[in-house]
């Protein structure tokens, strides 16, 4: 086993592939946070009054709060005054109208990341709203979507062009008082994506956003809002990579989903931010609030996530099942290697009658990684006949890693039914020997076994994302056996 372990350690210790840095002229605020900074952000973005007021309320509320201390993660204190709260590529000032106007350096960055916008436009049929640092610089397929009445644009643009929609829905699922990181985001969010699907429209393509953090010491505060009106359907993909960095970077995003009557939203994430080096130095701190509300009857929301990056992952994509017969799903693969920490899971809040939720969580721990599943299933008094099924599986690679499962269950109606299953297993020496005795290398064998372990979740991903996710596991996960 020793020989294998050594070989696998080499694989694990492979350098982060997306660790490069792009030199762009950036327009960055000096460090620190106060009301003047928030006014400045709002002014730079030419926001209407209501938006500034909302930010200020959030900021004042945030000042009264403290960082949550209930999770399993550990990190040195974050100095919120040492962060710059706004950074945008300078070219933004002229507002690029097409790819031709976009900074070529930026386009090259995306190419290195495997996001060739032009090609995607033609080949993949994916509309990409590319977020570089804090400002959207390119949006494709807009015209085609526009014909259907679909609005897909940067958050800033939505605030300017569709203030009534933003005003109606912003904070309606994640209020600015929700939690420490959501409040901070509400005060200082820089940009993000906005999507509105009108009644009866089936969005004909996967909507996609690539996030990337690039400026040193710049916190990234994305805000995403997706509204699926009655009888509509949308599938949204979010994928991220980030360049290598010495300093820890704070990321506190908020995503709100709203599904009205008979509407369906599928939201998929592949998260591959810089996880820090082998010794646990650097890496992204990822504190994310993601929540969807099945507001209308028979509405459906599903979250699918593949989390392989970040030094710290703290996120609980949740669904509030308000409408009768609404359905919520959560499918997750979370991998922690080296000194990565993940505390992730979901909340399914059943309010409506006959609501259904399904949770499948696959945690993989390697190296010194710590992986916790934390899930709440709540059946309110009104949730007559509601059902939940949860399955949490943990896979351990090596003997220095850890896996935890924290299921919280609250049931207030006797007709509601909750089922929870959990397993923990170690990647089998027998399985490895079997595969290797068929000529497969150790890395291919581990990759195959782990991909098999995650299969139920990958099946939920759109095809091109499933392939990407498998590759990602192939790179970041080949390793460490006990």
């Amino acid at each position: 086993m020793l020989k294998e372990a050594t070989k696998l350690d080499e694989l694990v210790s492979r350098e982060y592939q997306h660790g490069f840095h792009t030199d762009l002229e950036t327009d960055t605020l000096s460090q620190g946070l106060n009301e003047a900074v928030i006014r400045l952000i709002s002014a730079k973005k030419e926001e209407p009054e209501f938006m500034l007021d909302w930010r200020l309320q959030a900021y004042r509320h945030w000042l009264t709060m403290r960082e949550p201390g209930w999770s399993t993660i550990h990190h040195p204190p974050i100095d919120y005054q040492a962060i710059s709260y706004y950074s945008a590529p300078k070219s933004r000032q002229d507002g690029p109208q097409s790819l031709a106007e976009v900074d070529p350096e930026l386009l090259r960055t995306y190419e290195k990341l495997g996001v060739p916008l032009q090609e995607r436009e033609i080949l993949a049929g994916v509309a990409v709203d590319a977020v570089f640092d804090s400002v959207s610089v390119a949006t494709t397929f807009k015209a085609k979507l526009g014909e259907l009445g679909i609005i897909f644009c940067s958050f800033s643009e939505a605030v300017r062009e569709h203030p009534e929609l933003v005003r109606q829905y912003l904070g309606s699922v994640v209020p600015y008082t929700d939690n420490y990181f959501a409040s901070l985001n509400s005060a200082v969010f820089s940009d993000g994506s906005f999507c509105y699907i009108p009644p009866g429209v089936h969005c004909p393509m996967e909507l996609s956003t690539y996030f990337r953090i690039n400026a040193i010491n710049t916190g990234q505060f994305e805000r995403t809002l997706i509204i699926a009106d009655r009888d509509s359907y949308v599938s949204y993909l979010e994928g991220c990579t980030a360049p290598m960095r010495d300093e820890n970077q704070l990321h506190a995003a908020v995503v709100e989903l709203i599904a009205l009557e008979n509407a369906q939203i599928r939201y998929a994430t592949v998260q591959n931010w810089y996880p820090g080096d082998k010794e646990g130095r650097g890496g992204i701190y990822n504190f994310v609030t993601k929540r969807g509300e099945c507001r209308g009857d028979n509405s459906r929301i599903s979250w699918t996530q593949v989390e392989t990056g970040s030094a710290i992952t703290w996120k609980y994509p949740s669904v509030i099942l308000r409408g009768d017969n609404a359905q919520g799903e959560f499918h997750s693969v979370a991998l922690t290697n080296n000194y990565q920490q993940a505390d992730t899971g979901t909340k399914m809040i059943h309010l409506g009658r006959n609501t259904r939720s399904n949770i499948v969580s696959k945690g993989i721990s390697a190296g010194h990684g710590h992986n916790a599943y934390r899930g709440l299933v709540k059946m309110a008094k009104s949730a007559v006949g509601a059902r939940n099924y949860s399955q949490c599986d943990s896979l351990l690679l090596g003997d220095k890693c850890a896996a935890h499962t924290f299921p919280y269950i609250e049931v207030k109606h006797p007709s509601a039914r909750v089922e929870h299953e959990a397993t923990t297993s170690r990647i089998g020496e027998d399985q490895l020997f079997y595969c290797q005795s068929r000529g497969l290398s150790a890395e291919d064998a581990v990759s195959m076994i782990v991909n098999g372990f995650c299969k139920e979740v990958f099946q939920e991903l759109p095809m091109e994302f499933a392939v990407e996710a498998q590759k990602l596991l192939g790179v970041s996960l080949e390793g460490s056996i006990g």
Partner: protein, 255 residues
């Protein structure tokens, strides 16, 4: 093809093989027989390169080179294939995917182009028919929910697919009904070739009614105690192994 000289192997500090000698030539079929705990499975696993089997002395030459210098996958790439007594399950991995990955790993090593899904499917369907296996077994997770007989057939299926130079079969006959045994035996007989050697590890001589060996060896207490031809197996069937391990009360080592 295979020369084992004075092989000593221990598992968890406990000596299992104690000076084993064995020589197998290309084109031959050898049967290794013996009571439980005599070291039969240990021999098969040492040849395949399993971790935890410590060779304290002796040597194994395979095609003239030191086999012990090769790791597990290198041995497989050099044409050694072990059919497991207890094949493991790999949840979530479709059998067809596993088989294709294994074949392509070997083809890569041999400098052959990898087979795509269509060519592979044509090939494997043919082999399935030969093993009288249902195609649905291709799409189930590797060995998961397979019956004992299906697992054994799936092992022989890998043999006929991967075409090893040295085929090691660890109790491939155990737990099979007579019909399944005939199919497995036919699969093994189909492997016989002047370029290939086959080593059958078996507790019962039943399999040898269908796969007639060139040589039969009796393993007892970590050594080859007797060697002979087909008639030795038949004699054993009549008289038993006659070693202390067969007597009740004596604890058998787990291979």
């Amino acid at each position: 093809m295979l020369d084992i000289r004075n092989l000593h192997v221990s598992v968890d500090g406990k000596p299992i093989l104690k000076g084993l000698d064995l020589s197998v030539k290309a084109g031959e079929v050898h049967a290794i027989m013996g009571p439980n705990g005599s070291g039969k499975s240990t021999l098969a696993h040492v040849l395949a390169g399993r971790e935890g089997y410590v060779v304290s002395s002796g040597e194994i030459l395979y095609q003239g080179s030191n086999l012990l210098e090769l790791n597990v996958e290198e041995r497989a790439q050099q044409g050694i294939l072990l059919a497991f007594q207890y094949p493991v399950e790999i949840p979530g991995v479709a059998n067809v995917y596993f088989l294709k990955a294994a074949l392509n790993a070997l083809r890569r090593h041999r400098g052959l182009p990898e087979l795509d899904a269509i060519d592979f499917l044509a090939l494997i369907r043919n082999k399935l028919k030969q093993m009288e296996m249902d195609e649905s077994l291709l799409y189930r997770p590797v060995n998961q929910g397979f019956s004992g007989g299906e697992k054994k057939r799936n092992e022989i299926l890998q043999m006929v697919l991967l075409e090893p130079t040295l085929a090691l079969l660890d109790e491939s006959d155990s737990g099979l009904d007579i019909d399944a045994l005939k199919v497995v035996a036919a699969g093994i007989n189909g492997l016989r070739s002047p370029q290939r050697a086959i080593v059958l590890v078996t507790h019962y001589q039943r399999l040898l009614d269908y796969v007639v060996p060139d040589k039969v060896h009796v393993l007892a207490d970590g050594r080859i105690a007797r060697s002979g031809g087909r008639e030795l197996a038949i004699e054993l069937e009549r008289t038993g192994y006659g070693t202390p391990a067969d007597h009740p009360g004596r604890q058998a080592a787990t291979p």
